[in-house]
């Protein structure tokens, strides 16, 4: 155990006291797929026949997760960093770490900016967004400071406090003005570039669990893992479908494309005799998801930084961890100032994120699957 000054500076972020069971795979897959994209999904999909797009991409995601489960159950995965070294060599892992560092930075930035945009639009239109960014990052820092194992376990709380939100949209299926004709055509009469973009968007929305690849040492990997991965993915498909169909029923395809945050505005139409504007509660509670996501990514970000700075043999330090957090904070604020505040800038960032997350969801499982198979043959 560290003592004195050393104890003040060091921080046990990646310690492992026990491994987490299969249920965590299920919850992690589900929660990591329910982030910012799900709130803007209806804007990108619009046409009712995209229901099949969600199902098709979901099934493809199943295949991808099955491929990833091969990695989870391999002996390399349990070794963590050492496993990657054995597979790819030091230099390649460092290159991957630099790429990962940038990708995680982009992902954290976009999900934070997206959520802050929601908070700003719906709850605090007059507040400076930078304060909201700071507060969300501070609470994420607090959650992440308890270490990878605790943060991974936090997924149960994130699930319990966040999953019920989707259930609140079920009544939209049974409202008197819900026009089921809006769900037609279910077979596309025409196919455009926008439709392809929609499919790409769905694929990228499913890409969250790709980061699980780096968390296997904390998770218990056995042969039944694929079952949990598939259930988690299935749960996400159902949530995607529920929210998308509800929004099509509520707005219709024509109006759907004109609204920025369809899910958010739908929430504002939920009323009870004691409270109105339930969307305030829904948007606030959605923060559980974001904080969890950002915390996990923050730990991955610091981990990637340690790899490319060749600090893996040294202990984790508070200074290093807080510096990583500061880098994220500064980059989000700069991104907000320079790009996010304009529509083209915002679209550009979203498009970059869609393309990048789609690519990594396609590449990482394939690369790992191939590398493990090749090594096993050798």
């Amino acid at each position: 155990m560290a003592t004195g000054d050393e104890e003040v500076k060091s921080l046990s972020l990646y310690n492992r006291t026990s491994t987490l069971g299969g249920i965590y795979f299920l919850l992690l897959v589900n929660r990591m797929q329910m982030h910012y994209f799900i709130l803007i999904m209806p804007v990108y999909l619009v046409h009712p026949y995209m229901v099949w797009g969600i199902v098709a991409m979901g099934l493809l995601s199943h295949l991808n997760l099955m491929m990833m489960s091969k990695w989870f159950t391999s002996s390399y995965a349990a070794k963590g960093y050492q496993g990657f070294l054995q597979l790819f060599g030091k230099r390649t892992v460092q290159v991957f770490a630099i790429l990962g560092f940038l990708l995680i930075l982009l992902k954290i930035s976009i999900i934070t900016l997206g959520y802050v945009e929601m908070l700003h639009n719906f709850i605090f239109p007059s507040m400076d967004k930078r304060w909201l960014i700071l507060i969300i990052l501070l609470i994420s820092l607090y959650v992440a400071s308890h270490g990878m194992e605790n943060t991974l376990r936090f997924v149960v709380i994130a699930f319990l406090c966040g999953a019920w939100i989707s259930v609140m949209f079920i009544p939209f299926f049974f409202q008197p003005d819900a026009n089921y004709h809006d769900l037609y055509p279910l077979i596309p009469t025409e196919w455009s570039g926008q439709s392809w973009q929609g499919l790409l968007f769905i694929w990228s929305a499913f890409s969250g669990p790709v980061y699980l690849v780096f968390m296997v040492p904390w998770l218990s990997s056995n042969k039944k893992i694929s079952k949990y991965l598939v259930i988690g993915n299935m749960l996400s498909i159902m949530e995607y479908l529920l929210l998308f169909v509800a929004s099509v029923l509520f707005y219709g395809s024509y109006y759907l494309r004109k609204i920025d945050f369809p899910i958010g505005y739908m929430g504002s139409y939920i009323q009870t005799s004691g409270l109105e504007r339930i969307d305030y509660i829904l948007i606030s509670f959605h923060m559980f998801n974001y904080v969890f996501d950002i915390s996990i990514l923050l730990l991955c970000f610091y981990g990637a930084g340690r790899i490319f700075m060749r600090k893996m043999k040294e202990r984790t330090t508070r200074i290093g961890f807080w510096s990583s957090w500061l880098v994220i904070l500064i980059s989000i604020i700069l991104m907000d100032q320079w790009l996010w505040q304009t529509v083209p800038g915002q679209n550009m960032l979203l498009n970059i994120q869609i393309w990048i997350s789609s690519c990594i969801y396609l590449l990482i499982p394939t690369i790992l699957f191939t590398a493990v198979k090749r090594k096993e043959r050798m």
Partner: protein, 484 residues
């Protein structure tokens, strides 16, 4: 460790009498009696008369010595436990614990006879955890009596007790109880290690011991369950937990516990399961209501007027129209006032505290509204919140909750509803990182133990609870003998 040398021991023991006399100097209640046996031998009796039972001293030691019908000193004393004293420190400690020290000059031997004055009170019902059904007895300050109560409930040889003495001034006896072959040895050795490492001069209550051996010092949440109910302790022992009894304290410490134990009541297990589950859900609901209701009011009135339906908004505006304070100041003022009233009523005699309750609850509440210190709506919410507080059975948690309520109030005044959610995330993350005797505080939610959920938010039928809680890693998982 020092080598045992009989010669050295005899030499040392001969000087003990003088040293003890010196130690007992200026103690009016210390007595040293010399009693002749036969012609040459003499026996010295040393004791503190306020600590011993004089009647038993007479029956057990003085009269047999007078009869002088015994060969050795230890054979004279037949109706009390006699133990040999092997060190001067032991002699000093024993005399201060109500032992009679006897110096057998013939055999160069020091003996200790425990004749402690039983200063106990009668067995009374629990004052802190009252139940309608269930046992009415509670622990007292006498540690041996408390162990008896547990042994009567668990008459098994596997119920082990280990004694420790802590506190350089108080010499407090601590007894660690666990069921051998059931409780995970990891907990026992951790508890043993923690107690042995305690270094402080005075321990007057079990809560002080808890403060020294808990895993996290900087938290408002207790990591040991303090209870004065022997049935609760016996149930905990049977589940695979361990119990600590501290002399002169009527409260036992149970560990490892989870956060959910603090919301559960012993009565949950005495009622039919649907009733118990309903009451438990109400208790959880009350916990959330008491914690968030006032912050929610502040968030709504400060930031989110749109959430309030128009008819209620009119009532609220009318109620707040003459107030000079912000909702935050108003809320904080009422929370602090309520705490003052609660604390005052606890410290006063029972009859006065009832009057105080009436004055506090009705007169001050009414006057606060009329004077423009608080709105009527807030007084109503305050009343609901205060009553909801009392549903939480653990006193320590209710005290901690006030601090958390103020924290949420501050966050709500700055950030409205998102502020409350940020506070809740912070509280849950904090709880999530806590451990009780090394075990996670939020189990069975995180880490997730699905099978333990039948005794979490609902209390499932007892016949379904065939296994002991998984998070306790008991050595015997099944509660049924057949499945053992």
């Amino acid at each position: 460790m020092e080598q045992y040398d009989p010669q050295m021991k005899i030499h040392q023991m001969s000087t003990w009498l003088d040293e003890l006399k010196q130690k007992l100097n200026h103690m009016d209640d210390a007595e040293i009696i010399e009693h002749k046996i036969g012609t040459s031998a003499s026996v010295h009796l040393l004791y503190i008369k306020t600590l011993i039972d004089p009647e038993r001293l007479n029956e057990t030691i003085i009269q047999p010595l007078h009869r002088s019908a015994c060969n050795s000193l230890s054979s004279c004393i037949t109706n009390a436990k006699v133990s040999e004293v092997l060190s001067f420190e032991d002699a000093e400690q024993k005399i201060m614990q109500g032992f009679i020290l006897l110096n057998d000059s013939v055999n160069d031997q020091w003996l200790g006879v425990q004749l402690e004055n039983p200063l106990g009170r009668a067995v009374e019902p629990s004052q802190t955890e009252t139940v309608i059904y269930g046992a009415k007895d509670s622990f007292s300050e006498q540690i041996d009596k408390n162990i008896t109560m547990l042994r009567r409930r668990l008459p098994i040889t596997t119920l082990k007790t280990e004694s420790f003495t802590i506190g350089s001034l108080s010499k407090t006896k601590v007894v660690l109880l666990y069921i051998d072959g059931l409780t995970n040895p990891e907990f026992v050795s951790l508890a043993r290690k923690k107690i042995e490492s305690v270094d402080f001069d005075q321990f007057l209550d079990s809560s002080q011991l808890a403060a020294f051996i808990e895993d996290h010092n900087h938290t408002v949440f207790p990591q040991f369950l303090q209870t004065d109910r022997p049935d609760a302790c016996a149930y905990a022992l049977g589940e695979g937990k361990l119990t600590l009894l501290v002399s002169n304290s009527p409260f036992a410490l149970i560990a490892p516990i989870t956060f959910f134990h603090l919301i559960q009541s012993p009565e949950d297990y005495f009622l039919p399961w649907p009733v118990a589950s309903f009451l438990r859900l109400i208790r959880y609901g009350s916990f959330i209501v008491s914690l968030t209701m006032i912050p929610f009011y502040v968030a709504l009135t400060t930031f989110h007027y749109q959430m309030i339906p128009l008819p209620i908004l009119f009532v609220l505006l009318e109620s707040r129209s003459k107030l000079p304070f912000t909702p935050f100041t108003e809320g904080l003022f009422m929370i602090v006032t309520l705490e003052i009233i609660k604390e005052a009523s606890l410290r006063m005699p029972t009859k006065t505290s009832q009057t105080l309750g009436v004055i506090g609850g009705i007169v001050i509440g009414q006057a606060a509204v009329e004077a423009g210190f608080a709105s009527k709506v807030l007084i109503v919410l305050m009343g609901i919140s205060a009553i909801a507080f009392f549903l939480v059975p653990n006193y320590q948690v209710t005290k901690s909750m006030v601090l958390l309520q103020i924290l949420l109030l501050i966050l709500a005044s700055f950030l409205g509803l998102p502020g409350i959610v940020i506070g809740l995330i912070g509280i849950l993350a904090h709880l999530h990182a806590l451990t009780s005797l090394g075990q996670p505080y939020l189990a069975p939610i995180a880490p997730f133990y699905g099978k333990d959920w039948n005794d979490l938010f609902i209390r499932g039928p007892l016949i379904w609870m065939k296994t002991r809680p998984n998070y306790l890693k008991p050595l015997r998982k099944w509660r049924q003998e057949m499945k053992k």
